[in-house]
Amino acid sequence: MKRNPHLTQKIAFFLLLMATLLIVVPVGLIVVIIIQKGLPAINWQFLTDIPRQGMRAGGIFPAIVGTAYLVGGAIIFALPIGLLAAIYLSEYSKENVLSRIIKLAIINLSGVPSVVYGLFGLALFVVFFKFGASILSGALTLGIMILPIIITSSREALESVPDSFREVSLSLGASKWQTIRHIVLPNAVPGILTGTILGLGRAAGETAPILFTVAAFYLPQLPGSIFDQVMALPYHLYVLSTQVPNVDEKTRYGTALVLLLLVLLMNLVAIIIRSKLRKNKKW
């Protein structure tokens, strides 16, 4: 039988479309359900008040602040170190067995389960460095967890800058560092930001690492220093859903919605910065 190329093409298109829908539909459903069930809970008090009546009433402000601190701390720690490592790996290290092993190891590290990072953070920061269960321990643990993501995506962004730009810059008498600073880095910023966004989202959402190192079950006050414990949204959500009886469904979904919006907001900021930079980009 002769194959009809048009029919084959139609079937292929159909399969591709189905695969895409298969991804979009569940994600869309999750978002819709969370908004539907959580939106009624969102009001000014919910966002700015401390939890009351055993977390059944009041708000989730301490958890929002806690998550913001943790994510901010993780980025402050991971972005500079990750970027410097990426610059070294992409621009300075020679292509050999050792550098290839290092790159492979970093990629694999991003697949390590977060609970393992939690255990590591507990042993290193909480116990060994005696930071205790604190914002510092939690932020550092989250920072280590997102380092591989930031390194890998930054390295790819740096390597995607065409070599010809480097050669032109060098041929004009610029040093290697000047070339990196003025030509390579500015053109890699969008890619680096993408990695940072991924890292942000992951740091904001993970429960296991903060469970080991920082998260408080119930702490209706704001932290005074980086050595204090804090509540955090993902853990608070877990507590509300499984540890506290008789919590309103809308409170749980409201908390989830706030977490979602917080990550979305951070992404939005990064996306806006990125598109601004892209507009300046002249190629």
């Binding site: 010809s164 730009f165 050669e167 500015p186």
Partner: protein
Amino acid sequence: MVKFSIKDLNIWFGSAQALKNVSLDIQAHEILSVIGPSNSGKTTFLRTLNQLNALNTHLKMKGAVLFEDKDILKIDVELLRRKVGMVFALPLPLPLSIFDNVAYGIKMQGVKDKKQLAPRVEEALKEGHIWDEVKDRLSESAFKLSGGQQQRLCIARTLAVKPDVVLFDEPCSGLDPISTARVEETMLKLKEKYTIVLVTNNVKQAARISDDTGFMLLGELVEFGKTKDIFTAPRDKRTEDYITGRYG
């Protein structure tokens, strides 16, 4: 005066030999053109002169290259590249404005003051014969220019650093005949101030503008001499075959 003196230069990339025993002198204020088919080592030869080859980690080099009687390996590489500028085969503007493209090399030497930069940028753009076309749009992206304009901008950018020698790596390979003519005209003018080494696939171009010509084949400098002599009475059969179009 001899600008560059190359003695028994051999270059390998890994196990592949790219240059074999190349020896020649480059006189000041001349246009030297190097012709030959692709893969003959012309570009490798050119990139040796400003040490861009050194970026390749598999490079192995034997022999001597003297720039103004000094071994280029003993000259600070950034200083060498300021003295020996390069224009690449394809127009390669940096992703910056027209002004910043030309100012880039000067800025990298530490000049930051716009009042000092502006006259030097203007001077370079005039030397590159593109000032009239871009003087009203200096803050626009260099990518908005046409291919021929971009290439002249790249020439201006190289000249802004005030080099002694300018290396042209097939500068017209991506240009139409009119743009090519303008670039050639520019090169002839530049000869008064600079020494020019031109690598070209275009045999006629070499005949039109160069003083000396070298013919390379498979990493060997087959023949080297006055352009006039090479094109009227080549000594080597292979040179004759190539310039009359009977080769490869």
